[in-house]
């Protein structure tokens, strides 16, 4: 084949022709909604019920004219198919490697091809939930959706220990110094402006000889233990009993402790012993409660 390749002259050329395309009536409505309202719309066939995105004026299977049957579809959807583009071409909107996916928007039946971001390439899989991220600047077209971002569908909060995770002997505590401000604010919350809490001159006449905190104030310090630590977020406390042993004076540092003492298998609740101590390790109060640990994650 190759004869005198040295004599072969290669002429450089370029096929380039700026163009303007009318997007069609359905295409125009779609693009305008995207541009002006950041809304993705589809066209629904009344006969087969299929919702098309991108839009078509006619259902390809029913031959129905559907060009006026606009429906809103959601900005969220599921990746039904994907690949990772590793080669570079001038027509690509982003530099490789990147994920190209088919995204079935919630409310649509025909997945849309688009760029997917927000997940390491090695972790990409079908079925991931995504959300449209709109471009900061409109370009009047499908790239008004800049890309689809993978939505983390894990709970945003770390839930507490479930019944099965809880063991007898597990404990947690919370410590706080009770100030005059705390007592005054608590009076406001409870409406209990009893002078034994508010008025030093009155308090001098009581058996305590000085102002003390409301009993419910140190007691309430067990709430962050049960609700936020043990069992933690998602816990419900159907019963709590307390016996007060000693007053809490202004400036006292109170530690509230809860400890799992019994697992009630039948109800899948736990019983916890509660103790409140002050900075001198004196018992301020003691009691117990029933706790309904958080149910498994509600996805």
């Amino acid at each position: 084949m190759s004869t005198a390749t040295n004599d072969c002259f290669i002429v450089n050329g370029k096929l380039a022709l700026p163009y303007q395309y009318f997007a069609g009536r359905a295409g125009s409505r779609f693009i305008i909604s995207l541009r002006d309202e950041k809304k993705i719309r589809g066209l629904k066939c009344q006969k087969c019920g299929k919702v098309f995105v991108p839009p078509r004026a006619t259902c390809e299977t029913c031959f129905e004219d559907i060009c006026e049957n606009w429906v809103d579809v959601k900005n969220t959807g599921v990746v039904t198919c994907f690949t990772i583009i590793r080669y570079k071409e001038p027509h690509q909107p982003v530099d490789p490697p990147y994920i190209l996916g088919l995204v079935k928007l919630d409310g649509a039946d025909t997945p849309l091809a688009h760029i997917v971001k927000g997940v390491p390439l090695s972790k990409m899989k079908t079925g991931l939930k995504v959300k449209a991220v709109f471009a900061k600047k409109t370009t009047g077209g499908i790239m008004d959706i800049d890309h689809f971002q993978v939505v983390d569908d894990k709970p945003k909060f770390e839930m507490g220990y479930s019944y099965d995770e809880l063991e007898i002997g597990m404990s947690a505590s919370f410590t706080k110094t009770i100030s005059e401000t705390d007592v005054y604010l608590f009076a406001g919350i409870s409406g209990d402006f009893n002078p034994m809490h508010m008025n030093e001159e009155f308090a001098k006449m009581t058996p305590f000889g000085t102002r003390i905190a409301h009993g419910a104030l140190p007691q309430s310090l067990i709430a962050p233990v049960l609700g936020m630590k043990l069992p933690g977020l998602g816990t419900v406390i159907p019963e709590i009993t307390v016996r007060f042993k000693r007053p809490t004076y202004f400036g006292d540092t109170i530690t509230a402790i809860g400890e799992v003492v019994e697992k009630i298998e039948k109800k899948r609740w736990v019983r916890m012993e509660l103790r409140w101590t002050n900075q001198k390790d004196e018992l301020v109060a003691e009691g117990s409660c029933l706790a309904i640990p958080p149910m498994p994650f509600n996805k």
């Binding site: 583009i85 027509h91 088919l102 091809a113 790239m143």
Partner: protein
């Protein structure tokens, strides 16, 4: 089928990465001269009473040729001056369908089909196939046929349990077969390890899983039964044809369903009276642009059950059923000629002219072409020798 139509001559160039010392007209001329050595025909269709080629169909693509009406640069080579000249810009195998229709309709007696493509001319093949997409919703996202194949490969491999090892074996075999094909000498043999070590192109497709960029041309002369028998001692008869176009948007299709291919073969098998595709063919040529497509199209034409591509590969299906003994598209043909080259290869086998790769006593064949992103359009043709 109605009147029989015979393939009387088949010729092709070699397929190379860059035939930089020959223009596409030159490639076609090389083919034409080879065809004329096989059958003595004239092109003097404007002369009253002349008998010979009375219709020329060129297969070419405007963007690959970087000029519009790409066929009008071909008139000379096609011998089409002052006569009927047509162009197929679809998959090249469609030109055979076109020739068949022209002859069976009674309009034409003898048809020349000539396909050419120099993929090397464009900066990249992907830039050409990118232009096949709509400018509103798909092109801005940067898709081309390679990207679409990646989506299909991912979905199909998951459905049919095709592994990286399967794909490597397909490429190894394709290149081994190509070594026996004088038209694909440029492509070298590889080991499975080399294939599996080649970089990812568009996951799960590796660079060595993709068909190489190539230049080449292929042509045939077809005629009515009477004429074919006169000008040719061993014509190959077209027994069935079928094609089907799936939805345009990738999201409208089930990329793993083989919908269009199943329809295409359904039409062709009906015309050819084929009921069991597993035993119907001595030669099977599939357009495997990417390695995953070999088992996928095999499922589609009915060589194995849907979703059982892996089992078919593991059971040695490609060897047992003589699939792509030419090397297939993985050995290198330009995109638009894939199916036409497959048909040419099948005809060469049926004529018993396949040299080192000849399949013993090959009597029947199927050739398959595919065009559009992720197998949007499929076309098949079934052939038999007398």
């Amino acid at each position: 089928m109605a009147k029989r139509v015979g393939i009387c001559a088949v010729a092709q160039t070699t397929y190379e990465r860059d035939k930089k010392d020959i223009r596409f007209q030159g490639m076609a001329l090389e083919v034409l001269e080879a065809l004329r050595k096989q059958v003595d025909v004239t092109f003097s269709r404007h002369v009253k009473g002349a008998k010979g080629v009375d219709m020329s169909i060129s297969v070419s693509d405007d963007i690959f040729d970087a000029r519009t009406i790409s066929d009008n640069a071909m008139t000379d080579v096609l011998g089409a001056h002052f006569g009927c000249e047509e162009k197929v810009a679809q998959e090249g195998i469609q030109a055979l369908y076109y020739a068949l229709a022209a002859i069976q309709s009674g309009h034409n007696n003898m048809v020349l089909v000539m396909g050419h493509c120099k993929e090397s001319q464009a900066q990249s093949r992907n830039m050409v196939t990118h232009m096949a997409f709509d400018p509103f919703f798909t092109r801005p996202v940067g898709i081309d046929f390679c990207a679409a194949a990646g989506l299909q490969a991912q979905a199909y491999s998951a459905k049919s349990q095709i592994t990286d090892e399967h794909l490597a074996k397909i490429v190894v075999r394709a290149r081994e077969n190509a070594s026996k094909n004088p038209c694909t000498q440029e492509i070298g043999k590889v080991s499975a390890e080399e294939v599996m070590a080649s970089p990812m192109l568009v996951d799960p497709i590796r660079e060595l899983h993709a068909y190489p960029v190539s230049d080449g041309a292929v042509g045939m002369i077809l005629a009515t039964e009477d004429t074919a028998k006169k000008i040719c001692k061993n014509p190959v008869w077209i027994t069935g044809v079928g094609n089907c176009m799936d939805s345009f948007f990738l999201g409208d299709r089930d990329l793993t369903s083989n919908f269009a291919l199943k329809k295409a073969v359904q039409y062709a098998y009906k015309r050819a009276g084929i009921t069991d595709p597993r035993s119907a063919f001595d030669v099977i040529e599939l357009s495997d642009q990417y390695a995953y497509q070999l088992p996928m199209w095999a499922e589609g034409i009915g060589l194995c059950d849907a979703g059982k591509g892996a089992k078919w590969l593991d059971g040695g299906g490609p060897v047992k059923q003589n699939v792509n003994t030419s090397g297939g598209m993985l050995a290198g043909n330009p995109l638009i000629l894939g199916g036409l080259v497959r048909a040419a290869e099948a005809a060469i086998q049926l004529r018993g002219e396949a040299g080192d790769r000849q399949i013993n006593n090959a009597k029947t064949a199927i050739a398959h072409g595919v065009m559009g992103p992720a197998g949007q359009f499929h076309s098949v043709i079934t052939l038999a020798r007398a």
